[in-house]
Amino acid sequence: MSRLSLQQARGLKDLIQETVEAGASAIEKVHQDIACQPFAVLKKINVIAVPVQAIETVHQTITGGVYTSVRTVNRIAGVLATQVLNRLEEHGDTAEGSQAGGPAGEDPQYPAVNAPRRRLSE
């Protein structure tokens, strides 16, 4: 059965978190760039320039809030995942301390280079 080491699980968690963070920021920028185009045109009409400006501000605040929420939830999820992984690592250390030999299913003949301390079943 394929297995993922804790080190790799942390790496995967970091990669997903960084992708969501960067993705949300990039999409937010595109969203704002596209949204500002009709507002820019409408603001050239003097009679409606003031209300358009107000609507644009509201729009920017709402969209900015949505993307900030996405990033915040992403960070909270990252912290929670890190805590779960820390727990698993502590549990693994305890288990390994009380039980001699390598992790179950691994060939003790070939110890890993930079061996991860514990593996998770997929």
Binding site: S2, Q8, A26, D33, I34, Y110, E122
Partner: protein
């Protein structure tokens, strides 16, 4: 197996980013045995190869793969029990060593890493080494050439032992798909539209290893595969015999699809990029990945190995 393959694919796509961020998914270059890194100590080598021979076979996989790519598919086994390495061991006595590495790193960096790794292997190998055969699939062939260059520069003892080098579907002239990716990225960035620019930025996140395939870049300081007079920027290792094995998707090698797409990823190389006397064998109806685990390809490798043994 699928986890390892997934991690290898991620390394191929973003390996330099993973390494720079210290991400746990980044692969460190090492010899692998039974899906585990093989520590370079005499004891581990004895455990992995209880009957070491004086001849070594080093196998290097291509972009986004790992040593599992060498396994013959009909074997349906987890580890590469039947591969060019094991067959060469059985028939010619070559002890096989499978390298796993981060294919997203620059080819030159992997070349330097491989040169150093082979130095370490020679230092702890339990018996004297008479000959080394190198087999590289796709990007692996470029890493081999880069390693030979850097190994020659640092006067590594293993370089003089290399008798044969086999390049299977190696893009010595550059890979067209990456050339297309490069042009697509430039066009998408040039279009004054935030969405196309975003797509261009996402495309541009591909690893340096992938970008190096555009021109088959082997060295840090030589951006192109060809020199000013059309000669290879990196000379082929003079002391070794070089063998190129290429595939085409079609039955007719002169078919327009064969000339445009080659084995789906790599076209047959131009003649001016390899030295006179380099042997080339083209296999029809052979796609890129199949070159790494096909009985017909092995028979050709065996034939060339056999003819070289007779010569020597």
């Amino acid at each position: 197996m699928w986890t390892d393959l997934g991690i290898s694919v991620l390394n191929g796509m973003f390996g330099d980013y993973l390494r720079d961020r210290g991400n746990g998914l980044a692969i460190d270059m090492a010899f692998y045995h039974r899906n585990r890194p093989l520590p370079l100590t005499a004891e581990s080598l004895y455990q992995a190869h209880p009957h070491p021979t004086t001849k070594l076979c080093i196998l290097l996989h291509g972009l986004g793969c790992n040593e599992g790519v060498w396994a013959f598919r009909d074997a349906a086994q987890r580890y590469p029990e039947t591969s060019y390495g094991t067959l060469l061991q059985k028939e010619f006595g070559y002890t096989p060593f499978y390298v796993r590495y981060n294919t997203g790193l620059p080819i030159a960096e992997n070349g330097k890493g491989l040169a150093a790794l082979l130095d370490e292997l020679l230092a702890c190998y339990p018996v004297g080494i008479a000959e080394i055969v190198l087999i590289g699939h796709s990007m692996g062939g470029l890493v081999l050439r880069s390693a030979c260059h850097y190994g020659t520069q640092r006067q590594s003892p293993w370089v003089g032992k290399v008798g044969q080098a086999f390049y299977l579907g190696t893009p010595h002239d550059g890979a067209d798909l990456e050339k297309l990716g490069h042009v697509a990225t430039a066009v998408l960035h040039a279009v004054p539209n935030p969405i196309t620019r975003l797509i261009g930025t996402i495309l541009n996140q591909r690893s340096q290893g992938v970008k190096d395939l555009r021109s088959g870049r082997l060295l840090d300081d030589a951006p192109d595969t060809l020199g000013p007079n059309g000669e290879p920027a990196v000379p082929w290792l003079a002391s070794a015999h070089h063998y190129l094995i290429v595939g085409t998707l079609t039955r007719d090698s002169q078919h327009v699809a064969a000339r445009l797409f080659g084995d789906a990823l790599v076209r047959p190389p131009q003649e001016n990029t390899f030295k006179p006397g380099v042997n080339v064998k083209l296999f029809r109806r052979m796609h890129h990945l199949k070159l790494a685990h096909d009985p017909r390809v092995y028979r050709q490798i065996k034939r060339w190995c056999g003819s070289d043994l007779k010569r020597s």
